[in-house]
């Protein structure tokens, strides 16, 4: 399998876990969003996890409960990715958050109640192509449903912008 993500599709990081019905305002508050990206990056997620902006490391995982990223359509996945988040796992995602993540090339998997097997700070290894998830802290394995091909292509391209650019001949309105 050709792979453009991680090490043969594997990425690994520590877990930052939030609860159910976490809305995008609390991840990327309006008051910081409109101060510009640099200021937002200093405050992203702090309403939920005060340590998050200072301590998150590249490749870490954002893990949520049901209806993750509900409410406003602001592109919270874009900013989580920019902050270093490598993948998102949740019980269920809000539709807008889910599609924003795909379109930013940020892998996101809905794993239902299996998310209960993941705790704050756990080390998680995840394969973006196969949906295999290993909790290295608890040694528990989880299986997420892999993406259909056409979604995988967008994720693999790094988001919809890159995807369109790499398929420019199909877009007659682009010079």
């Amino acid at each position: 399998m050709s792979s453009k993500i991680g090490d043969n599709g594997w990425i690994e990081g520590s877990v930052w876990k939030v609860g159910n019905n976490i809305n995008t305002e609390s991840i990327t508050p309006s008051r910081w969003l409109h101060e510009g990206v640099d200021v937002l990056m200093e405050h992203i997620g702090e309403l939920l996890i005060p340590d998050f902006p200072a301590k998150v490391k590249k490749g870490d995982l954002w893990v949520g409960g049901t209806n993750l990223g509900c409410s406003s359509s602001r592109n919270a996945p874009r900013f989580l990715k920019k902050k270093g988040i490598g993948a998102v796992l949740c019980n269920s995602a809000s539709r807008i958050f889910y599609r924003n993540a795909i379109n930013e090339g940020l892998p996101i998997f809905e794993i239902g109640m299996e998310v209960e097997k993941i705790n704050m700070g756990d080390r998680i290894r995840i394969n973006v192509y196969t949906g295999e998830i290993t909790n290295r802290t608890t040694r528990i394995g989880i299986k997420a449903k892999p993406y259909p091909d056409f979604i995988m292509q967008i994720v693999e391209a790094g988001g919809i912008g890159n995807y369109i650019r790499s398929h420019k001949s199909e877009y007659k309105l682009l010079k």
Partner: protein, 423 residues
Amino acid sequence: MPFTAVEKILMQHSVDKLDTVSPGDFVTANIDYVGFHEGNDALVFKMFEEAGELAGVWDRDKVGMFLSHHFCTGLSDEFAANQKIAREWAARLGIRIFDFGTGICHILIMEEGLAYPGALCLFADSHATAYGAVGAMSTTAGTEMVQVLLKGHLWFKVPTTHKYTIEGKARKGVYPRDVVQHIVREVGLDASVYSAIEWDGSYIHSLPVPLRFPFSLMSVELGAKCSFIEPDKITLDYIDRRVKAPYEVVKTDPDARFEKTYHFDISDLEPQVCAPSSPDNTKPLSETLGVKIDQVCIGTCTGGSIDDLREAAKILKGRRVKARTLIIPATREANLQCAAEGLLQIFVESGCDLYPPFCGTCQTLCVGHLAPGEVQIHPGPRNWQGRTAEGSYSYLASPATCAATAIEGHIADPRKYLQEVKE
């Protein structure tokens, strides 16, 4: 095979001309109208620049840019510069622009007849579920709007459908805004994640179209992908002078399958107030009476229609407000109607301040900023932390409850003022 209205709309718009779909299927579908506002369009335009010179959009008549959604005025040099870019792009691409003063995008799309029965619409904002009020299927798109602008279609997952039936006649002082937040509390914010919500029942079909917006628009507060209210005579009268495109009313088949069904009888419901800081933290008004309020906003997408403003004016007429009170009609049409009916006079005489149409203080992005420790009440859809300054709080209530609260300076019951109104 029976289908829901949303399934039929997706089939009718499918690029592959599908004659059957099931929940969970992926469908690529042609779009009838797309819009974006000042909050998300900056990202879209940035992507255009990154992706190369754009030669045009797939159909300029099916695209609109709405600058008067979150803001009613410029805020900074940078903001003004972004607005200038947006206006220049609109001119270059030949797409219609709805500039400052026009009002809230979702309401405008229905007022302008851009969403209509059977249409498939997208907007780069979460409350795009609103156009179900006129029998359209509408939902949100983010940066993938670039794909839509270039090709006119997008992929969808066919949603399951949940049916919410609301029966009964509301008591005096109880409005759709009360009913919808009661329902959000009853079923929860994740009751209908990724599903279509079909609103039905004698209560829904008794309402004028603008008072159906709280249900269709706040469907997203229940997690829904889109909403649908079957067009009836009231709908067709509303859209008659507005819609120019040919359309055909789409209805759910009588034996179509719903994944979940909810039934409510709201005959005994009292006014409801949603307390800080989540749209499901709703309580009966009686439990919140007396909470001190610093600022009242009467307006927003779920409280700024002419029907809403008339109710507020009934209560405010001949009285003075104690809290600072902002009147913000949802659109210019609502504003003009207020002027024609003498409501603006009532508002100013009662000590309220008039603002041009836009979102209002549901997020304090350009007016009505709160200091830490201050509390506001408004009829908008959301009161999450992060939408106003840290340490400030928002209650949500009907425009009538907001008006009574403005008069007393603390959360108050609108019914005592309505008793005195001769209708």
